[in-house]
Symmetry: C2
Subunit: 458 residues, 2 copies
Amino acid sequence: MTKRLLLALGATTILSTAAFAGVSAETDPVQWALENDPVAWEITEGLTTEVGARQGGTEAEARARAWALAYLRKSGFANVREEAFDMPTWVRGEERAWVVSPFPQKMVVTALGNSASTGDAGLEAEIAYFPTLDALRAVPDGSLAGKIAFVSHAMKPAQDGSSYGAFGPARFVGPNIAAKKGAVAIVIRSVGTDRTHRNPHAGNTNFDTGVTPIPAGALSIPDADNLVRMIERNGSVKLRLLLTPRNLGTQKSGNVVAELPGSNPALPPIVIACHLDSWDLGTGAIDDAAGCGIITAAASAIKATRPRRTIRLLWAGAEEVGIWGGKAYAETHRAVPHALAMESDFGADRVWRVDFKLPDSAAALADRIAARLAPLGIGRGKDPASGGADVGAIIAAQNLGIVDLQQDGSRYFDLHHTPDDTLSMIDKAQLRQNVAAWTAALTELANYEGELTLAPKR
Amino acid sequence: MTKRLLLALGATTILSTAAFAGVSAETDPVQWALENDPVAWEITEGLTTEVGARQGGTEAEARARAWALAYLRKSGFANVREEAFDMPTWVRGEERAWVVSPFPQKMVVTALGNSASTGDAGLEAEIAYFPTLDALRAVPDGSLAGKIAFVSHAMKPAQDGSSYGAFGPARFVGPNIAAKKGAVAIVIRSVGTDRTHRNPHAGNTNFDTGVTPIPAGALSIPDADNLVRMIERNGSVKLRLLLTPRNLGTQKSGNVVAELPGSNPALPPIVIACHLDSWDLGTGAIDDAAGCGIITAAASAIKATRPRRTIRLLWAGAEEVGIWGGKAYAETHRAVPHALAMESDFGADRVWRVDFKLPDSAAALADRIAARLAPLGIGRGKDPASGGADVGAIIAAQNLGIVDLQQDGSRYFDLHHTPDDTLSMIDKAQLRQNVAAWTAALTELANYEGELTLAPKR
């Protein structure tokens, strides 16, 4: 990797001597990152090429951890280590669907995480159609006996990702509701926004304790549209479904942790997070190799400026399948005070807004960060920052300060959890804008010696 | 279908009373089609919903023929009939690929038509990498023994589709060349232009007589890019390939033929063609349900004007897998004189150019057609028209006149032969522009009583 890094830097030097003449990582790390950062791409390209898909709890995720440890050590970070934990692991098997009648044809389907298996013989049943999740909620218990529920709740894209909150429940809880009402299986319209490509969106679902899981799949959106057309024509549609996932029981996963030590070790660290695992259909480029690339690139970019506060990098394990890494991190580090948390886990498109959750005493700090971000085309939001999945537990445990660098999510749910989440979707210019934004924010935060948590230090 | 058609017309009437006030199918069929045609969409939607994928020689194609016969009869066409023929039939089985070393991960692959099977156990071999087809051609016979050839010839989009000619041979003849040089299998970069979605492009390949077919697959373009990155890093890459297609031997297929009888039965007919079959990964919307929709809608639009010359519709069978329908049509109808041939088989995006191949005596006719097309944003080309696959044999047999309404192919090879060829990709406004263009051309052609063939009548 080091050789490649040098080559990349060498090439950049030749191509933009003018930029180098005026900008160095020492004097202006933000501009330098915007124009020259090689690290975010290198990590995104490296993980997707040399590891590919890396589902939490699998051997591929273990290879990803080995890759991460080697990369972070070669890059000169301190205290690079793996923090192992155990977790239950579900893996995909065969997955196919066919309309049996009235219009026989294949459908493209993927099993949702924690789906039950249909068995190798598959199952065949009439569809009970629900245009929305509320329509499913409204039918009486037991009314779906012998049926495959089909929930066709149609998500729309939103720049801030808010539509995932509105439409995600079709996946998160739809299967649980259908199981309670007696359905033999469920298929949902993919909780995603790519209306034209025939790739389904994977992701976890969960069944309540005491509810027997049923086979649960997501149809690609063109297939869901086709199924709706059939239902509107004919009423009765029979589907055959084959999903053969398995539970592997408890498996090993782990977080990868590394540090850029601050010049004042007495100051509690800032933790910056991404997740190393991915869903298995794509190669996990936007979700979330890019996030690991962005946070690591920013930490690398400010290294030469020797910031006062330690920056701790958390490349979390097993986020997609239950945020196991984030919970394990909080468990392990609960007793040690942290200052603030940030996370990059919303793709690789440009940052468009910054949100804060800081003590009142840090108001001037927030103003300085916002001022540094404005030249990058980033506005200031009024929402309180909320952090991210992997830092959620440590934030809750210690009431940490938070800065959210909100990424443009307009196309995120076109790609998220689909086979199309590959390196080919990464826009290098937008990726570097992310690094520049993180570099700007970290420059202020890591040199701020005042209080950053919202409660008194513990 | 009739009920739906009436409903569609009803809705259109409400929405565009103003247009109806000035435009009727009788007085201005071109403008009427541009604003109101319901037929092209109805056929495209109907075939993709009620039949879906319909590979030549399969039971699904037989259902598509039944659908077509019923539709054309209900729509009032004359002499609606099936003209059966036999053909050899190859069908897809399992298809998977994995990089075994150095970077283990799945790849997305599809078998090329006429590929051999790897057997259920699959095969594993080192890759021999060829950035271009010429690089494969250049290596000595026997030099690929024990290797999987990988040809990564990268196609670029072109509005006129010309890049298919430049890059298609990687698929058409690459496998045959690799087999002759001793390769145990071949994978190619998909001959398509969608660089970002992880769906491979299917399509036929052919092996020379005496050459033993080898397993031959197409990788999605993001996967081909990933494989190239691995090779550039590591040199040696080992791939495992599982492709289990089968030859079903001789199966039934057929053409569907229908007519709009001209008021002067002495004039030889104009044959207008599309193909009814599709590849099996998508639902065959742009390739070529839309083509059948366009030609049939145009014939419907001019019906009320009672044109002089008979228009014969050919919905050809088994085009994708060897142009069996087009050859069968020429065989059956060789003895009966035709006047001119046209075909729609390049998607559903707008017509941008018209090309002619007509006798000199018809120069004024070509001028009139070009003048009618100009208001639709269609320019006049200088290339001689060449027709299409399904009318190729009858054109050659009778030296027919040809008019080509060239469609914009900029995104055609993003979708062509992939799972993404579904109804979701159809742009209704562009589809109607096609119908309007065909209506304009047919209005002139079907009322022209002069000579249209290039050789004397037989």
